[in-house]
Symmetry: C2
Subunit: 136 residues, 2 copies
Amino acid sequence: MQTEEEILKIKKVKNTAVRTVVLRHLLAQEKAQSLKDIENALAYTDRSSIFRTLKTFEENKVIHSIEDGSGMTKYAVCAEGCNCEPKDLHYHFYCTNCSKTFCLVDLPIPHIKLPENFKLHQANMVVKGLCDKCNK
Amino acid sequence: MQTEEEILKIKKVKNTAVRTVVLRHLLAQEKAQSLKDIENALAYTDRSSIFRTLKTFEENKVIHSIEDGSGMTKYAVCAEGCNCEPKDLHYHFYCTNCSKTFCLVDLPIPHIKLPENFKLHQANMVVKGLCDKCNK
DNA sequence: TAATGTTTGCAATCGAGTTGCGCTAATACC
DNA sequence: GGTATTAGCGCAACTCGATTGCAAACATTA
Ligand SMILES: [Mn+2]
Ligand SMILES: [Mn+2]
Ligand SMILES: [Zn+2]
Ligand SMILES: [Zn+2]
């Protein structure tokens, strides 16, 4: 497991107080976090600072974002070695009962045969249903 | 190709003026439409009426919605025989250049082996990149 | 140190989505 | 047909996540 400092160094993002604490928070979660989740957890850090930090992180591939249909974009730390390329894409699971969103990093996306002349760059793959805790 | 009246009858949705014109518009498009797209196209129909129409259509599986990450939910008419079940799920393509979102109905989603005890109900699968027209 | 660039906090704004409400049209009931 | 009830519609207001302008604080460079 890499520390916040190591990750930021590898991804060439300058370390600051806000960046460290946001990244630390993201690393400590099992579920993907919304801006509001982070804002609530970091009571003394301003929302717009967190917002801009998330943008910076995403641009530099420290994290990736997930549109799970809940109305709030979620964020999760990229796995070690991830470069947000097609080979790094994975499914996400959104539990319609507990509203948690997870990265299914062990479930790589199969090769998608797009129509002639289409070019794949990114993907937002969200599978919805019940997570193991809610599926009783 | 089914007419608006036929589709609404099959899906047991009462026909009204707004519903007919919204469905007709959706049927005539090659790309999935946002609420704003429809509002712009139907200049004399109120936004909230279109909004509620879309909700009704979605609840009754006349259309399905797509979260393509553009910030606006897109809507597309379900294929004939579609019941919005896992077997009916398909990929969507969002062109990052021209911002068009398409249903790739001929590209069914492969079986997804979720972790133990997870239950799949729905999915929002969006592949992003360049469409054939923009990939020169 | 002074100049320059970057990050942060605060407040304001944006905009897609949603809702309350009164009016009208459609349907059900007598 | 006539009246009560329900459903759909249009307008305006509102919600709330996301985004931005700006000035102060901080870091880097010359
Ligand atoms: Mn992920
Ligand atoms: Mn579709
Ligand atoms: Zn759950
Ligand atoms: Zn395109």
